[in-house]
Amino acid sequence: MSVSLSAKQVVKRYGGVVALADGNLEVEAGEVLALLGANGSGKSTLSKIITGVVAPNEGQLHLDGKLVSFSSPNDARKVGITAVYQELSLIPDMTVMENIWLTHEPRTLWRVNKAAMRRGTRDLLALFDGTISAGLTPDALVKDLPPDERQIVEICKALSHQPRLVILDEATASLDSQQVQRLYELVQDWKARGMAIVFVSHRMEEIRLFADRATVLRNGRSVGTRDLANTTDSELVEMMIEGAAQLGERTRAPLPDDAPVRLKVSALRGARLRNISFEAHDGELLGIGGLHGQGQSELLLALFGAIPFSGSVVLSGKSVHFRHPRQAMACDVAFVPGDRATEGLLLSRSILENLHLPSWAKFGTPLKMDRARADAQRSVEELQLVAESLDALASSLSGGNAQKVVIGKWLLRSPKLLLLNDPTKGVDVGAKGEFYQLLDKLRQSGAAIILYSSDDDELIGLCDRVLVFHDGRLTAELAGDQVTRANLVTASMGAHPAAQPQ
């Protein structure tokens, strides 16, 4: 079943915004093509056009040499193209098997044949045997599954269509390493059987593991395709960003020994958290690492009073137990959430309102809008925010600028303890650099910062100390020279790194 697909000069505009200016891509049977690019480079748009979810404004799609156009995802599926999406396409209130077979349920006469559906689902789930829990059954409700197993259901759903071409759009993002390894084995099998695979990911290691060739997108344009075997990482990064930025330079002075303790946490327990104890100092950037979803977000949420917990927290020498973010804010604690769109921003409101949301009360009643505007203007300049005006909607901002607004609303309150939950996820390289400078400035002003990052390089480059989490426990505390990639990876698997501090 040989297949080939090419997209030529595909263009997609949303209103005045060009999401994809010149998308090109070619993929053949038996190969894995990686689609690379910074955020907002048009990867997702291009893959959604190929699967018929998004209608292109211009350009051509050729399947097996013939011109095709899809007016819906169903059209694409009929000719053998399916996708595993990053934003899950599952219905939470339906069962695993209902989700997998949605739109092509096995039927006898008019009736959906549940027995056949269950059998087919078991066969598909068997592919992931050994990497999934007993809770993942054909009759389980999707809303009861953890994220990694939902992702696996998503993969099974794509497979159930027996596709000739599969797009894996960030399909590995929530999988653990064992599951990624299993997926890799499966992909090898699909290749051997003549399937074509397009692999979209942010993680360079995985791209190297899975893909044969890579097409790089930059600002909505395809800038080239390379054989991965003869291309270095830095060459690829250079293609992704114009003039590769320097990253991870350690330029700061070490933390003085007598830095006062800002936060002392002892025996903290709560949702997913088991007996966490540590200290953070003024002027310190304390990192939190580990695999995705090991309790890191919960720790930050608990410290901010957003979720219940037990245990002792001493902040600035006083014992505190926050039950609402408001109380934490009153003690100069700030929290930058992980998901900008759903936790950090009011997308359909102005930048001004976003910046002042935590602080309106200080402008009196009626609100002194002139002063609020002046304050906001000052922080926009400080953050080097690129925006039309203070009245522009938050939804009109790019990822990096949007994150600046989320951080800006806390900087306006000059926090003493700043909690950051994976703040640079989906932020482009340039904006990351500016963001690191901002953190450094805050640190120099004496604030204690706790940073959870899913990017190990970021932790290595920025942090004085790193706490590594595994399964809700603190498995290692790495300091100074111990903060290495090898130690981080070892500790994140739940094992003790060779050199254990203290």
Binding site: V53, A55, F304, M329, L347, R349, L357, W360, P366, L367
Partner: protein, 319 residues
């Protein structure tokens, strides 16, 4: 089609106001007596009652979370009946009876808010259930007999010309318009209300006490509906068991015609005021044209559908 599209891109509040003006003069074509100052004042007076009820509805809809208040009609009736029954028909009795009515409306709003935010009942269901409770309360209060009287001062203050030939209720409505603007745009509560309507997680993580904002909002809706009920009594001078029911769905329609989004987080009160004018005008026009009731109903439905088609549309699934 291009005209329609251009209309759709206009500020819906402005569009509604424009429509109100056009409708008013269109009335002159049907009946030359329709266009004069007295008629204009009369229509604004009628719109004021709807507008005051819809003020609370505007706040509740902005608060999001499928927010809607179906109990406004019941509160209007209850408030009017309480004043009618307990004021004793004189000026002095109006004050405690009015306070009682406003307190009852506010209490009902607080219970609605608690049901919605603390118990997690969908607003549509909670306020619908509350409507039944209010109707029951009315029967208990009246024991089926609508005895009482309206203090004469109410008619003077509310529906008869007060200053420069303008009735008191219109002046109150304009003042309310100003206060609502202040509330929504120039207070912390207003800013937090929009935030709660757009995204409750973001709001909470920014220190907003979401339950408090939601309960306050439903309480304000109850208070404003009760205020409207008192006003309405000054106009009708008498009460009946379904006095406020007729205002329930128009109050929602006025909010929507005025450009406040049912999904929450976006809207204005002056849009609602325009919407109330539009709906009242349509109603008056149909009456003035001497159209029989069946056709009135059909035409009203058609106009509402047409208005919705212009700017009440939701997003497409395919981009």
């Amino acid at each position: 089609m291009t005209l329609l599209r251009r209309l759709a891109q206009m500020n819906p509040a402005l569009l509604a106001l424009l429509l109100a003006v056009v409708l008013f003069f269109a009335g002159g074509l049907i009946n030359p007596n329709f266009v004069n100052v007295n008629q204009a004042i009369n229509i604004v007076r009628l719109a004021a009652f709807l507008g005051i009820i819809a003020a609370g509805q505007t706040l509740v809809i902005i608060s999001g979370g499928e927010g809607i208040d179906l109990s406004v009609g019941g509160v209007v009736t209850l408030a009017a009946i309480l004043v009618f029954r307990f004021s004793g028909g004189d000026t002095l009795g109006l004050i405690p009876a009015g306070a009682l009515a406003l307190a009852a409306g506010t209490l009902i709003g607080v219970i609605n808010g608690l049901g919605v935010i603390a118990v997690g009942i969908p607003p549509l269901v909670m306020t619908l259930g509350m409507t039944g409770v209010i109707q029951g309360t009315i029967l208990v209060v009246t024991q089926g007999q609508l005895i009482g009287s309206t203090p004469p001062i109410m008619a003077q203050l509310i529906s008869q010309p007060l200053i420069l030939g303008i009735p008191g209720v219109v002046i109150l409505w304009l003042a309310l318009g100003g206060l609502m603007w202040l509330l929504l745009e120039r207070t912390t509560y207003g800013k937090q209300l929009f935030a709660v309507g757009v995204n409750r997680t973001t709001a909470r993580l920014s220190g907003v006490r979401v339950p408090r904002v939601v309960i306050t909002t439903y309480a304000l809706s109850g208070f404003l509906s009760a205020l409207a009920g008192v006003m309405l009594l000054g106009f009708t001078q008498t009460v009946f068991l379904n006095l406020g029911g007729a205002y329930l769905f128009p109050s929602i329609a006025a909010v929507v015609v005025g450009g406040t989004v049912l999904a929450g987080g976006k809207g204005s009160y002056w849009g609602t005021m325009s919407g109330a004018l539009v709906l009242t005008l349509i109603d008056s026009l149909l009456r003035a044209a001497g159209i029989e009731q069946a056709y009135q109903s059909i035409i009203l439905g058609g106009i509402l559908l047409a208005l919705l088609s212009i700017y009440g549309r939701q997003h497409r699934l395919r981009q």
